[in-house]
């Protein structure tokens, strides 16, 4: 036994010595040189940039127009060294925040530390946006067509959806394939509301309940002119203590009373042509229990999808500017399946179709002027959901036309 140990020890020492000896001066120089180059890459710096948008909208049913400075977002980023950096986005919505009034809001869209593991993988920690859908990650106004964000990516995928947690991002060596995996705080079912899906259950970094957790994952494949992505989210929606949850007859714990979201999309870009399709589905199997616990009217199933086609009319001019004409059709149903009455009541207005036709003019890639018309059609209103209507209420119309004009920038 002693001999064996001695042999292993001597072998180890010899190997270490050999290894040290085989590191030539030239190799030492290489390392030194690389280190100095890394210094170049990792020069400390602070970056300030941002994006914003403003719009005008005319509602033909209400005969009402409105205009708003929709968003002004300030990015601040700082690179500590080649491996660690910080990113943040602070957003002011609708131009003004006044205490106690229904006005705008200030929020953090992102604030996270990024740790580069190597040239193909990194970690983020903090308030970040998981890779779900198309728009959630890439929500700058210059990067999507239409003054309004796609309805499906507002109501089914609640973009811009950010939570606190840790994310791992990477890309494959062998294929044009990207992947991500994230763990974050879960949604809060107490804040879910009828008509907005899971949107109002987001904590957005603000004192989130963290007894419940969520995971999200995505795989993106980019062959040639295509880009395919599937992503998923699963998380608990009750962040209460067991005692609190039990009193409401809800399941608590990390993944208690879970909600699931699955999404798939494909994008195509080739010269002046661009197209995208997306489908997303929310499954909330315990919606009936939540409806009883909080007197809500939530659906078990909600889904939506859209298809968009665009053409850059200036592509062949070989100029910096582009003029994209586009058409987008969206279909969504926020109560595709509802718990049996009286635990759930069907609302036809949440079954919607939207046809958006418009133009995006980008004189430079960082500035956009947009105009579009959105034709909206919904199912009929359910009289059982209309409680104490005001005497001057107009009859519900299942068709509407919205005219939108907007500007946007990013830098």
């Amino acid at each position: 036994m002693k001999n064996w140990l001695l042999t292993i020890l001597i072998s180890g020492i010899c190997l270490a010595e050999t290894s040290a000896q085989t590191k030539t001066n030239a190799q030492n120089l290489v390392f030194t040189n690389e280190d100095s180059l890394h210094q170049g890459i990792s020069k400390q710096k602070t970056i300030i940039s941002g994006y914003g948008s403003a719009f005008y909208q005319r509602d033909e049913v209400l005969k009402q127009s409105k205009a708003s400075l929709e968003r002004v977002v300030l990015f601040v980023g700082h690179q500590f060294n080649s491996k660690i950096s910080f990113f943040s986005e602070m957003e002011l919505e609708n131009g003004l925040v006044v205490g106690g009034k229904e006005k705008g809001e200030i929020s953090m869209e992102q604030a996270f530390l990024k740790f580069n593991l190597n040239s193909k993988q990194y970690l983020v920690a903090g308030l970040f946006i998981p890779r779900i859908g198309i728009l959630n990650e890439n929500h700058l106004p210059v990067n999507f067509n239409g003054v309004e964000r796609p309805m499906v990516e507002q109501l089914i995928i609640p973009a811009t959806w950010r939570e606190l947690g840790v994310g791992f991002y990477g890309k494959s060596d062998r294929l044009p394939l990207l992947y991500s995996l994230a763990v974050m705080n879960g949604l809060n079912s107490a804040d879910f509301s009828h008509g907005t899906g899971i949107r109002d259950g987001r904590a957005e970094g603000s004192s989130a309940w963290a007894n419940n957790l969520a995971i999200s994952a995505s795989v993106q494949y980019n062959p040639g002119n295509f880009r395919f992505q599937v992503s998923g989210y699963a998380g608990g929606t009750v962040g209460l203590s067991k005692r609190g949850a039990d009193s409401l007859k809800l399941n608590s714990g990390a993944f208690g009373t879970p909600v699931y979201l699955a999404e798939a999309n494909a994008q195509y870009t080739n010269g002046p042509f661009q197209g995208k399709i997306l489908f997303a589905n929310i499954y909330y199997p315990d919606a009936d229990k939540v409806n009883i616990a909080y007197a809500k009217n939530l659906a078990t199933d909600a889904y939506g999808g859209y298809a968009e086609f665009g053409y850059d009319c200036l592509y062949h001019k070989q100029k910096e500017s582009s003029l994209i004409s586009f058409v987008r059709y969206e279909y969504l149903n926020l109560n595709a399946t509802i718990p049996a009455a009286p635990k759930g009541i069907y609302d036809g207005t949440l079954k919607q179709q939207h046809l958006v036709i418009g133009l995006s003019y980008l004189p430079i890639p960082n500035v956009v002027i947009k105009g579009d018309v959105r034709l909206m059609h919904t199912g009929p209103q359910n009289p059982a959901l209309v409680i104490n209507p005001p005497p001057n209420a107009l009859p519900y119309k299942t068709n509407n036309t919205l005219i939108n004009l907007g500007i946007g920038y990013s830098f």
Partner: protein, 133 residues
């Protein structure tokens, strides 16, 4: 259906075959990356990964046969770029660059940083990164 899909995708995978997509190397003492010519013989794009770097370099063969070496670092907030249709994309804020490194979608405003490329007498491709900052 599966066959049709494969037929649709295969032509678009040029340059992405498992054996040729990434070339891992190091920077020599002179601040030069050497790439054997055969690495880009049968493909229009080679991703060069210098040891220890946080960013890859895209070695791109242009239509006229000339070579360009682009640092795959977003000029907006320094995030790593990924290959996407007709170029490169930054997933942090959605900036896009074409194969020549030119900005085609903001928020980035500057084109990708490029390195001088030449060839030595042995036909090796030399990417000069010594003045990189």
């Amino acid at each position: 259906m599966a066959t049709a899909t494969a037929f649709l995708l295969l032509p678009t995978l040029d340059g992405c075959s498992p054996s040729s997509s990434i070339f891992q190397t190091s920077v020599n003492p002179g601040g030069i990356i050497e790439v054997p010519e055969n690495q880009i013989k049968d493909t229009k794009l080679k991703i060069i990964r210098p040891a220890g770097w946080q960013y890859d370099i895209a070695l791109h063969k242009k239509e006229d046969g000339s070579l360009a070496a682009l640092l795959l670092r977003c000029t907006h907030m320094d995030n790593q770029l990924a290959q996407a249709s007709g170029g490169y994309i930054c997933h942090l804020h959605g900036s896009r660059f074409n194969m020549d490194g030119k900005v085609i979608k903001g928020p980035a405003e500057k084109n990708l940083e490029s390195f001088p490329v030449s060839k030595d007498n042995n036909g090796n491709i030399l990417i000069v990164v010594k003045n990189f900052s």
